[in-house]
Symmetry: C2
Subunit: 203 residues, 2 copies
């Protein structure tokens, strides 16, 4: 079976619970969460290199020029990017990488690295999504509506994803994702060398 790791991209509307599922996966020895680079200021509780790689806009743009990001984007004046080198090294070592990013970034990565596996995560129902968003109790109705509208756009892009996962219970969803990674490793497209070697050994 293919010994390279799988680059697992998880997207989904805010409130889909993808962060919790990603965190459960990282408890496994062979799953790692990718750390993004950003130009925004660190928050009090954020640890550099763990939550983000913090850098100036100049540093960031120089990395963009040098092709050091798998994808990058600007939000509200700040830049966010996914560093390529560390991810590729880990994949080569057989480690699976989880990328929790939004849909545009996900499609950029798929374009750059077609072996990436795109999973779109939704809560059990739209009602449940609304409940989860409201349940945080920290957002205004306007913010909730804006997120729902964003969710609609993301659901359109979800049609270009590989898998749709319905997140009923986080632990079970994490198991589903592990199953998807196992299946992906057995794809013929990842194992053509094995077929070739096997043929060579028959006679």
């Amino acid at each position: 079976m293919d010994s390279r790791g799988v680059l697992l991209i998880i997207s989904g509307p805010s409130g889909s619970g993808k962060g919790t599922v990603a965190e459960i996966l990282t408890r496994e020895d062979d799953y790692f969460l990718s750390v993004s680079a950003t130009t925004r200021a660190p928050r009090d509780y954020e640890i550099p290199g763990e939550h983000y790689y913090f850098m100036t806009k100049e540093e960031f743009l120089s990395k963009v020029r040098d092709g050091e990001f798998l994808e990058w984007a600007e939000f509200c004046g700040n830049c966010y990017g996914t560093p390529k080198k560390e991810i590729m090294e880990r994949l080569d070592k057989g480690q699976n990488i989880i990328l929790e990013i939004e849909v545009q970034g996900a499609l950029q990565v798929k374009n750059e690295y077609p072996e990436a596996v795109l999973v779109f995560m939704i809560p059990p129902s739209a009602q449940e999504l609304k409940k989860r968003l409201a349940g945080r109790g920290t957002e205004t109705e306007e913010v909730i509506l804006e997120r729902l509208e964003r969710a609609l756009i993301e659901l359109d892009v979800a049609n270009m994803y590989d898998y749709l996962v319905i997140n009923h219970v986080s632990d079970q969803t994490a198991e589903d994702l592990k199953g998807i990674v196992m299946a992906e490793k057995q794809k013929v497209s990842r194992n053509k060398e094995i077929i070739q070697e096997f043929k060579g050994e028959v006679f």
Copy 2:
């Protein structure tokens, strides 16, 4: 998640152990082995409707004309075919169907029913394959060589399959196949309706 069953096609060289793995899968409530139709005479131990549907060449060809087979082929003057109706009914009911057929038939089915999942099974090594073939002790060297040559041709076609499964231990391989079926059911291509419904419910 998509409620339809998965049509799982297992191919692989003689000696790959696919029959044993298929048999293990059928112990699950939702896995059924497809019964082929054939024009050859039943052997002593064969039960009609369990091992094969036995029929005359006239009956068989009339079914071919009526499009009742997902695939069919002639070997050594006998016809073999995979009846479509029963398979489609079971898939609609959410049952998974296992088809253990050779590569030409598998590609015919994939052409007719693109949702079919094609799994190519090989033993851990070519050496192991030779051992398994010889191990039966019932075949002449000529027959073994012929099978190995056939295996080489099949391995070329395997490049067009969806999954490559290496059969180390039958029970584990059956688990791998169940994992592949679970992952397949979560493919976006099978769940576009769910995305559509979810969108409709958001507002």
